[in-house]
Symmetry: C2
Subunit: 247 residues, 2 copies
Amino acid sequence: MKGIELIPVEGFPEVRPGDGLAEMVADAVGDVLRSGDVLVVTHKVMSKAEGRLVDLRSVEPSALAKEYASRWGKDPRQIEVVLRESRRIVRMDRGVVISETRHGFVCANAGVDASNVPGGDTVCLLPVDPDGSAAKLREALKKQLDIEVPVVVSDSFGRAWRFGITDIAIGVAGMDPLADYRGQNDPHGYPMEASVLAVADELAAAAELVMGKTDGVPIAIVRGYAYGRGAGSGRDLLMPPERDMFR
Amino acid sequence: MKGIELIPVEGFPEVRPGDGLAEMVADAVGDVLRSGDVLVVTHKVMSKAEGRLVDLRSVEPSALAKEYASRWGKDPRQIEVVLRESRRIVRMDRGVVISETRHGFVCANAGVDASNVPGGDTVCLLPVDPDGSAAKLREALKKQLDIEVPVVVSDSFGRAWRFGITDIAIGVAGMDPLADYRGQNDPHGYPMEASVLAVADELAAAAELVMGKTDGVPIAIVRGYAYGRGAGSGRDLLMPPERDMFR
């Protein structure tokens, strides 16, 4: 097996609502991107281009948001946005809301985030349809650059039982996000029944290593990874409710 | 920022209990490894070298192991080994045991694994002290190759709410496994209060992309990652019980 390169795309401009993200990405990666690469894009630039920003001054907090925020010293308007972005609360303690978003992600604060957003009173939401955002960018790059690459949309999530956040894939287009070894045998002939690898999550995590949090690098190219061709989506990475032992 | 290379170490021989792992690793990476690299090693080669293998024919299952195995069509001896490797059961359903190991990892089947182990009746346990195993390998490589590199010991863990496994760091030596951005501001001046990145987990995940499950690549080199110098350990990646919302 050959090695893999993780290439940061530097100098990407600040994205504003309504910006043509595909053109901006094409400009930024046009000289570098090759067929066979995987493009990893943090959701924040997609959310911004899609106008998924909320001015907190326009938000009227509910009774629950007010109560919870006052108890934990949080901004009630931000808690309200989190509640609105949730379809089910999983845990609510210590000022944190861990909930299931409408997409089915279980994460802290429903993916609502005030970092890397201009304006002190603005928060950023997850894209409405991260798979759709990935597919749209993939199609646009194909048209503009004549290169077909998988697109992985990433976000930083916490994990149960482990400290620290890692980047994972919330949207996927143009590749199978899973590498399924079930039915294959290991080199000793043992069937690998539990071996389904969430490779799109691993690609997102790998890409984060060249992005950093303060460097303004929202895009990375993964070169040399033999991704599984297939029409998978980020939804394949959600635990089906009937198999979920932690609902 | 420069890019990162993920380099698989191919042709690594099968490891047997009592083998001198450090010599084997030094032989395998001596021509490639450079100062500044991070070495990622799957725990399985360490477990094997350390004799952390159990012949199931020597295991007498307890009543609980028999009961649970018979209900779900599992091997009662393997369930018994899982129970013995656990200090607390978190979930026990559908043939799976999710437990906290003596190290403090919460994972499926206490890390007990029958894949990639020779002999149909043998299972592999996690190293007794993965941080110690990492430190020992790091020290030995320093002596033999005169190169000082961080060592990350990896394993594949499942995640709550997400489908598929990813590689994470169960042992770390020679680097800070976390990149802590708390107290820093983002490019817009917003304080990044929640931003502690579990970079050792991301390094393990990245390395998995060049390892694969059936390719017999238990070691990878990460080149070009500016890791945090420091005396961190894999324990830093465990959620402290008092902050754990999913106990």
